[in-house]
Amino acid sequence: MDKIPILRMGRFLLVTIQVDLYDRLALNLESDLVQMVSKTGASGVLIDISALSIVDSFMGRILGNIGSMSKIMDAETVVVGMQPAVAITLIELGLELKGVHTALNVEKGMQLLQNKMGLIAENEEETG
């Protein structure tokens, strides 16, 4: 059975999707990720889709689901590396990927997550 590996990097989980996904694989990734967030207490999830040549409505929904599920588990999700042709197609298809943050590449995505963590820590200091 194929499986998408989930790497742990400090407080974040890192997923690089390197194969073309069929629906079962995407659904497994969704549940594996949410379980990993719960198990590791990760505060951020970074999903690299630079190797995906298409994102259709199903995959878009999975990405959105991962974002919302992680959110209620107290983790932010950022999707990085979307190919320009995929972005054009997604919008024309009618999918806006609400609920997930996006960044141009892994580096910028990591920065975004770290900034978010930093902001939260600052707020906690102020209120606490």
């Binding site: 040549s53 298409i54 994102v55 259709d56 409505s57 199903f58 878009g60 042709a85 054009i88 009618g94």
Partner: protein, 137 residues
Amino acid sequence: MIVVLNKENMLIVKEQDVVLFRNRVKEYAVKIGMGLVNQTKLITAASELVRNMIKYASGGSILIEVVSKGRENGIRLTFRDQGPGIPNIPQAMKDGFTTGKSLGLGLPGAKRLVSEFDIKSIVGEGTTVSIIKWKNG
């Protein structure tokens, strides 16, 4: 008039067939020199339609054709299934309508992504969807 230059039939029975099918469509699109954005639109539309076929009709067959009209070349895909059929096509073509649990973007989204879109369905007999993406369309 549309002339068929090359054709191939594919059977879709399981989810993994979708990946093979998408790769096949990509090969044909690359062969006729279709640009990356149009390739992506065509494959995404194809992916939506093949999912419907698996989900609602447990599979079917797809005819992949390289077609030409005047100076324009393109890819035509015809999805045939023997599923339950669609009783109300105008409703199924509306954004956000679904009888499953999806987003309801499949059919209307696929239509927006291709150059020509045609759907025929007979309740109890099945559904046929035909799309064309012109190389520069």
